[in-house]
């Protein structure tokens, strides 16, 4: 009798678990501790393995001592990159190194994406939207300068590819762009605010880029919020910093251009910590000093603006932003059972590519004065 009792209890327990799996509240629970590994454990293990292969400070020290790009290739053979440049015939150039580095990251990302289940697959798609926006702007700007599509397509980032990308050359206005091409892509949702009859020129393209990116960031922010749990805890600060960084950059870059203050205010993403007070003050700022004063009210940002400048021995503001981003991304690995590790890995690998390309450029041009301007990761 007790065995049948046990069997019935087990059956009902399984039933409860199965019904839990279907219920919407459990999406939150599934992405945090208990059931995370069922769908995503393999990929998290894999990404942590990859994270172990990110170049450390000793690697960068060795790389800066290289005399030629061949030395660089020899040293990279002993890292996780292995023989990635093995089959390249002819003299090595920085462009080849850059391409191969990116190819490796794209292969890894595609593997992750192909093996993921929702909601992780949606998360990966969100990461690719950023690259899609960059590609679209690249193509439109190129077409504006009368470059041919076949010349521009190889320059697009492979993670941001979508089928209709090639036909962006036909668009004359933003409305055209939307109706003809983008309406079938996932970016259609972000384009709602950009649709206008104005002809595409330099300023307008920048406005489109920033409006698209704003909509994308806010959508990504909401998505992470809806997942909840550790993912939200880890991703939200990263996305908030991204939003604030864009707000600062837009403000600083708009000094001396035709962009009016109202237009500028419309481009700020609202999901950062600067919203609403900081953003309204930034919208009214007229020069760098006022921007700095806005940053003073927020502890971390005050630190970033402190001592940033273009003089020798000083880091530029952009470098400081990169450093802070790297710090946030590294922190993502300190917690388990969340999607932030994947985002952080992609961003850290990108930073690593930028570092290696910077060092290669300094070596190739024999100008070693600024070779230490990379952002160390570990």
């Amino acid at each position: 009798k007790s065995i049948s009792e046990l069997a019935r209890l087990t059956a009902s327990a399984i039933q409860v678990l199965c019904s839990l799996e279907r219920s919407p509240e459990v999406v939150n629970m599934a992405s945090s501790d208990m059931l995370f590994n069922v769908d995503n454990g393999y990929l998290e293990g894999l990404v942590r393995g990859f994270r172990g292969g990110i170049l450390a400070q000793t690697d960068y020290l060795n790389l800066t001592q290289c005399e030629t790009l061949e030395d660089l290739k020899l040293h990279l053979q002993s890292t996780d990159y292995g023989n990635f440049l093995q089959n390249e015939a002819g003299p090595l150039t920085v462009a080849v190194v850059d391409d191969k580095l990116r190819e490796k990251l794209v292969t890894e990302f595609t593997y992750f994406r192909n093996h993921s289940l929702p909601p992780l697959s949606q998360f990966f798609d969100f990461i690719t939207y950023g690259y899609m926006i960059d590609n679209i702007i690249l193509l439109i700007t190129g077409t504006l300068h009368n470059r041919s599509i076949s010349e521009l397509l190889p320059k697009c980032h492979p993670l941001g590819q979508f089928e209709e990308l090639g036909s962006l050359g036909i668009a004359q206005t933003a409305k055209d762009l939307y109706n003809a091409v983008l309406v079938d892509t996932p970016l259609a949702l972000f384009f709602q605010e950009c649709v206008s009859e104005q002809d595409l020129d330099e300023l307008h393209i920048e406005i489109i880029r920033n409006t698209l990116y704003k909509a994308y960031l806010e959508a990504f922010f909401e998505f992470c919020q809806s997942i909840g749990g550790s993912t939200a805890d880890m991703m939200l600060p990263i996305l908030q910093f991204e939003a604030d960084r864009r707000a600062f950059n837009i403000t600083i870059n708009s000094f001396g251009t035709e962009l009016g203050k109202d237009d500028r205010a419309k481009l700020f993403p609202r999901c950062g910590r600067l919203y609403p007070d900081g953003l309204s003050r930034l919208a009214k700022a007229d020069d760098y000093e006022q921007v700095r004063q806005v940053a003073e009210c927020y502890a971390e940002y005050a630190q970033l603006f402190d001592g940033a400048g273009t003089g020798p021995g000083e880091k530029t503001l952009e470098d400081r932003f990169f450093e802070y981003e790297v710090k946030l991304n590294m922190n993502a690995f300190m917690n388990q059972f969340h999607f932030g590790v994947f985002y952080a890995y992609v961003k850290l690998k990108e930073q690593e590519c930028r570092n290696i390309v910077w060092i290669s450029e300094c070596i190739a041009q024999q100008n070693r004065s600024k070779i230490d301007n990379y952002v160390p990761i570990f």
Partner: protein
């Protein structure tokens, strides 16, 4: 002494070699396979070591051999295993081997690029043939429907055909080929961008086509687009460029079409004969390479290993002598000494290599003699 459960007794030995004879002695020791060298330069970067240039040259040779191996595999040739392993090559052989590989690689690359060009031409002609056939079909169907006056969808085409004949330059059409996976998005974008003002028809090509670059089979569709006016024409052309569809000039009248079809067929035949000759030549060249490639790979591998090991040695200040440390089994000391002696004689240098055992507190590696 040693058994399968216990290691052989190992000793740390110091090896003094003169620079001339170092390569040959190490070659002999390599053939024996009884010693393990310690790295005496752990702080030195990989690219600062003494023999790094030689290692790089071996790397380059290996890259060429890998390329040739890949080409042989693509041609479905079997590579012969050599009956016996080739000996360690002399350092002076490196130049000769390098020259040989460079020549072979250049030859194969040239043959490949020629073949690719011919394949591309052939593909274009085949596509053109299919396009002309399909347009002949389209127009024939339209004619039929026009005279019969029955089918509605055919009637659209018939009406367009009438327009094309009456208005001449106003209604134009464009024919081309696009890969099958892109046809859906292509149709949609075409419809949206031209606001439904173009008429498009597409048919799959049944014959299997091969991509000239990668050699893989690809599926393509033929499409024909009717449009009116210059603006739409440039728009259609831009979209075709964006989707990497190839447009072919298609003649208007049926007589021209027949003519071109015949011309295309003869050209395809000519090209096929040239192509078969090229692939024969390529097969023969690769076959000749395949006879020797295993031997070459082994030689290069041995050379690279020797230079790697030489990099582990400590270079004496006077640049005359290389000092190395290695673990060797006590029982085989005689054969090791004999190998060193052979290497020294082969190199014809004046100074004898010296092997002397050292006492050390380090843990020896495990060696089980099988």
């Amino acid at each position: 002494m040693g058994s399968l459960f216990r290691s052989e007794e190992m000793n740390l030995a110091q090896l003094y070699l003169q620079s001339d004879s170092a390569y040959h002695c190490l070659g002999e020791l390599g053939e024996l396979g009884l010693v393990q060298f310690r790295d005496l330069n752990p702080d030195v970067n990989a690219f600062n070591r003494r023999y790094v240039n030689e290692v790089r040259r071996c790397d380059e040779m290996e890259r060429r051999l890998r390329y040739l191996n890949k080409e042989i595999a693509k041609a479905d040739l079997k590579v012969l295993e050599d009956a016996e392993e080739p000996d360690v090559p002399l350092p002076s052989d490196m130049l000769e081997l390098e020259g040989q590989f460079e020549k072979l690689e250049a030859e194969i690359r040239e043959i490949n690029s020629n073949q690719e060009r011919l394949n591309r031409n052939c593909l274009e002609l085949t596509e053109l043939k299919h396009i002309i056939r399909q347009t002949v079909n389209f127009f024939a169907e339209a004619e039929q429907a026009f005279t019969a006056g029955v089918h509605f969808s055919m009637g659209e085409e018939a009406a367009l055909l009438e327009d094309a004949r009456n208005h001449g330059s106003q209604l134009g059409f464009m024919a081309g080929v696009i890969s099958r996976e892109r046809i859906q998005a292509f149709e949609r974008v075409m419809w949206r961008a031209c606001r439904g003002n173009v008429f498009m028809r597409h048919e799959p090509i049944d014959v299997e086509l091969t991509d000239p670059v990668s050699g893989e089979p690809i599926d393509k569709n033929v499409f024909i687009i009717f449009h009116q006016g210059d603006q739409l024409r440039s728009r259609v052309r831009k979209i075709c460029d964006g989707f990497r569809a190839t447009i072919y000039p298609c003649p208007e009248t049926a007589a021209e079409r027949r003519e071109i079809l015949m011309g295309v067929s003869t050209r395809i035949e000519d090209l096929s004969t040239i192509l078969s000759q090229t692939s024969d030549h390529r097969y023969r060249v690769l076959h000749a390479i395949g006879q020797n490639i295993r031997g070459w790979s082994t030689k290069v591998a041995k050379m690279k290993a020797i230079y790697h090991t030489l990099n582990l040695f400590d270079v004496d200040v006077a640049q005359q002598c290389l000092v190395g440390e290695c673990w060797c089994p006590l029982a085989d000391l005689d054969s090791i000494q004999y190998a060193l002696q052979t290497g020294h004689e082969r190199s014809g240098s004046s100074v004898q290599p010296i092997l002397h055992l050292m006492k050390t507190p380090l843990n020896p590696p495990t060696y089980n003699k099988v």
